[in-house]
Symmetry: C2
Subunit: 122 residues, 2 copies
């Protein structure tokens, strides 16, 4: 199992990848068969091609993330962070929390994004 | 399924119950057979008696919670919040994120608390 430090570094790299507008840097944090449910309650996407496309699309609209406080670990294989998503092309801001589950190799195997219709500011 | 507003009100009531030092107000937010994994990676507790005891013990040391930003919903049956736990009796502060899953009746059926050894400040 990855250490707390390793998991938190992956979540930080996720934020930094958006900042650098580098979709490959973000999708590369995920295992090839990872599942992303973003947001929770919508159909999950799975697998390398879908994940790559997801982040290319997310960054095509200039999306940036700002952490709302420190990244949290756990006593197991999960870590989480609260952040604010800015989507300038849509004049939109979203308050979100992402929970990531890790595999033995330190890659993210599952991400659940918590944000609802009420968490969007226009 | 409860609405976004209903789920968020439950999470706010969770914080408020600590503020009021009212363990029954907090444990009453959970279904009788709810599962709590706090923190993730430790053995879960389950059921009314264990949940009641958990919050009596948590509040016996004066624990208070402060939200780090707005409570987040989802497009499904989950909501989450990032907060800071103050445990004055232990001179301790913990940065945590709780994810709660809801049943049809609006009671919490599962809570996962994300915080690790590194998220504790002494």
């Amino acid at each position: 199992m990855p250490t707390q430090e390793q998991m938190k570094a992956v979540l930080q790299a996720y934020v930094d990848g958006f900042d650098a507008a580098d979709p490959g840097a973000v999708s590369g944090l995920f295992a090839d068969d990872a599942v992303i449910e973003d947001p929770v309650g919508t159909p999950p996407i799975q697998g390398r091609a879908a994940i790559d496309e997801f982040y290319v699309n997310a960054m095509a609209v200039g999306t940036k993330l700002t952490l709302d406080g420190p990244i949290r670990g756990s006593h197991g294989d999960k870590a989480a962070m609260a952040f604010t998503v800015e989507v300038p092309a849509m004049g939109m801001r979203i308050h979100a929390i992402d929970v990531m589950t890790f595999g033995e190799d330190g890659k993210v195997t599952r991400m659940e994004a918590l944000w609802g219709p009420d968490d969007i500011e226009q």
